[in-house]
């Protein structure tokens, strides 16, 4: 049994503007073990990115953590990241060093006016006592760790001189330069081509094996979730609707939203041309006007027209280790992916 690295309890991150209040993260609780790969899946606007930014305390203005705890465990002591000042020395010592992040778009998250080497050695010298020369050496070391060809040459290049895949490798190198205990990867391969995506996913898998860090993998791509993660959290409208190990989630989903998502994607090697995909009706609700009761009720095919519309379901354990927030979880008949393949 591995130790808990991070525990999020009833996290609430809200955005308040003249248009109203958006509950981007609305009461999320989960636990992350050290060395584990946790997947967070959901469609745009579900709060998955804001949740990860809440952990690092880099939520963009006017977002604010208004409730809950983010307990980070280090050497037997527990630090509540949610209670720290986002500008404090304490969080800055953790951010980038112990918990690092890789973003979706390496072109916008790397500085265009500094070389790759300067940016990585800055991160190194910020957190560790390294001389300039030693930092440069360490930079070359991490660049070769991420499979960068000719790291001695790449170190003096600017981001625009590199391809998308190379930039993403540079960003991963920067994130890993201080050997973090947790790497948060927010859609790290979404902007990349499939063959480049395969390279980056293989790289992350290898690095995790070598360095033993925990990875929080945020994506909308169920394929990436299935291939990369141990445990999965499904988010919808700022809430966690299901939490399960990856096998149970795909083969025995318990929340109607999870079930519907699994069947709305075309599956490589098994779809028939001209066949119909199962559709989730409607679209994601306006974040300023979240439906009452269960936030998914107006798109759910099991909506009972009564309790689902009035009472917000709470997370409960439906099967051992598998949690879902649906009044009818365990009662409704949801198909996992194995059954879908059997049907002609």
């Amino acid at each position: 049994m591995s130790a808990t690295l991070l525990e999020v309890r009833n996290l609430q991150t809200h955005f308040v503007s003249e248009l109203g209040r958006v509950r981007a993260v609305d009461g999320a609780s989960f636990r992350l073990e050290s060395g584990q790969t946790l997947g967070i899946v959901g469609e745009s606007g579900c709060g998955k990115s804001i949740m990860s930014r809440s952990i690092l305390r880099i939520v963009p203005h006017p977002g604010e953590i208004v409730g809950g705890k983010i307990l980070y465990q280090r050497d037997g002591e527990s630090i509540d990241l949610a209670a720290l000042d986002p500008k404090s020395a304490e969080i800055r010592a953790i951010r980038g060093a112990e918990i690092a992040m890789v973003f979706q778009e390496p072109m916008t998250s790397l500085s265009p006016v500094h070389t790759i080497g300067d940016q990585i050695s800055e991160a190194i010298r910020l957190h560790q006592l390294f001389s300039k020369a030693a930092a440069r050496e360490r930079t070359i070391e991490v660049l070769s760790l991420v499979g960068m060809p000719r790291p001695e040459g790449i170190i003096d290049r600017y981001p625009h001189e590199l391809s998308g895949g190379m930039r993403q490798r540079a960003m991963i190198a920067m994130a890993l330069s201080c050997e973090p205990r947790l790497l948060i990867a927010d859609e790290p391969t979404t902007a990349l081509d499939v063959t480049t995506q395969a390279q980056i996913l293989a790289l992350l898998r290898r690095l995790q094996g070598e360095l033993g860090m925990a990875i929080m993998f945020i994506t909308h791509d169920l394929g990436v979730i299935a291939q990369m993660t141990d445990h999965v959290i499904v988010m919808y409208m700022g809430r966690i609707v299901e939490s399960a190990d990856v096998d149970s989630l795909f083969y025995q989903p318990q929340h109607p939203y999870t079930g519907a998502l699994l069947h709305s994607i075309p599956r490589l090697g098994s779809s028939q041309p001209g066949g119909k995909l199962n559709v989730i009706r409607g679209s994601i609700p306006d974040p300023y006007a979240v439906p009452g009761g269960c936030p998914f009720h107006n798109r759910c095919r099991f909506n009972d027209g009564d309790r689902c519309q009035s009472e917000t379901p709470i997370m409960r354990e439906v099967r051992p280790g598998q949690f879902a927030s649906c009044h009818y979880a365990g009662e409704v008949d949801l198909e996992g992916i194995a059954l879908a393949e059997a049907t002609p």
Binding site: E43, S44, S163, G165, M166, D193, V194, T195, T196, Q197, A198, Q199, L201, A202, H220, D221, L222, G223, V224, I225, A226, Q227, M228, V246, D247, L249, F250, Y251, A260, L261, L262, S264, I265, P266, R267, L268, G269, S270, S271, P273, G274, G275, K276, L277, N278, V279, I280, S283, I284, I337
Partner: protein, 336 residues
């Protein structure tokens, strides 16, 4: 089945300009000798990674670009001998054909004018093509909106009031306004969320059977392409490397690049965690493609001949076209 479109040896080169007088110092061979046909009523998929030339090819066909060389033979109405070479027409001569070939774009946020209402957006192609009566336009727009699954009362609203999926429906309604024969769909679902993507794919399927449409479906997502296309052409650095029926291509690919593409897609099944065939290196630069086969620096099956001699696209048994010197001897892995 009759061919609606035949593309022959199509080329589109973009000059690379440098210096004070913008002298051309080189060429990007975005599309470099592509030939294929699209049969009436079918969906032909065009897949490849970014920079392979698939979008440029689509834009040549709708004649947003003037091709550098080659023929685009269109068998639609208004041609004298049944077929017309669109590549040689310009300006006013193209007009009757523009109506018959429409395009759906990737980005539903960038492709609709934010200052026009739906009535203006969808009615504009009608107006341009001579429909003057405002009531007729209104009726037609209302009908088009209901065809794509939007309420006709929404025609007075502006695009910002709609979600990504709804905007894509607006783009589709606009493309349908003039009863086209061929629609070039350029990544129509890649900007959409998965649940909405399924709605749009189903809508495109419904419209095809209702109106007898022919699609050229440009995409990078191989699962989506498998779902919607009858035949698929795979592009790499400006050339088609493989083309055949969808089921055959996915079950038994003959080109090493297709095999790698299929293998690279993360399968949404945690019990099938095979390590993918990871290609080394990156897509070749179309301004400076490698000698011989453009794929040879990344190909795991490369032999000496591949480095010097460029393979031509050859038909094999059953209409399976492959451009690879070793196509006959290799036993490649499909999806599954």
């Amino acid at each position: 089945m009759a061919n609606l479109l035949e593309v022959r040896s199509l080329k589109k080169y973009f000059p690379i300009k440098r210096g004070l007088f913008s002298r051309a110092v080189g060429q990007v061979k975005a599309v470099d000798g592509v030939s294929f046909e699209v049969r009436a009523g079918e969906t032909l998929g065009l897949v490849g990674e970014s920079g392979c030339g698939k979008t440029t090819l689509g834009r040549c066909i709708v004649r947003a670009y003037q091709p550098t060389a080659g023929e685009i033979l269109f068998g639609g109405e208004g041609s004298d001998k049944g077929v017309t070479d669109l590549a040689r027409l310009s300006g006013v001569e193209l007009r009757p054909f523009r109506r018959q070939i429409q395009m759906i774009f990737q980005d539903p946020f960038g492709s609709l004018n934010p200052r026009m209402t739906l009535l203006q957006l969808i009615g504009e192609p009608l107006k341009v093509n001579g429909v003057k009566d405002g009531n007729v336009i209104k009726e037609r727009v209302a009908a088009l909106l209901s065809v794509v699954g939007l309420r006709s009362e929404t025609m007075t609203r502006y695009p910002h009031a709609f979600s990504g999926g709804q905007r894509q429906r607006i783009g589709i309604a606009r493309a349908l306004a003039l009863n086209p024969r061929l629609i070039v769909c350029d990544e129509p679902v890649s900007a959409l969320d998965v649940s909405v993507q399924a709605q749009i794919l189903n809508l495109l399927g419904d419209l095809q059977s209702e109106f007898g449409l022919t699609y050229l479906f440009i995409a990078h997502d191989l699962s989506v392409v498998e779902h919607i296309c009858d035949r698929v052409a795979v592009m790499y650095v400006g050339k088609i490397v493989e083309m055949t029926e969808t089921a055959r291509l996915y079950r038994k690919p003959r080109h090493p690049y297709t095999e790698a593409l299929l293998s690279a897609v993360p399968k949404p099944d945690p019990r099938r965690r095979a390590a993918p065939l990871v290609l080394e290196g990156e897509v070749a630069d179309p301004a400076d493609p490698p000698a011989g086969c453009a794929f040879h620096p990344r190909c795991p099956y490369v032999i000496e001949r591949c480095r010097s001699e460029s393979p031509a696209l050859h038909p094999n048994a059953g209409g399976h076209w492959v451009a690879c010197h070793r196509a006959a001897e290799l036993d490649l892995q499909g999806a599954n």
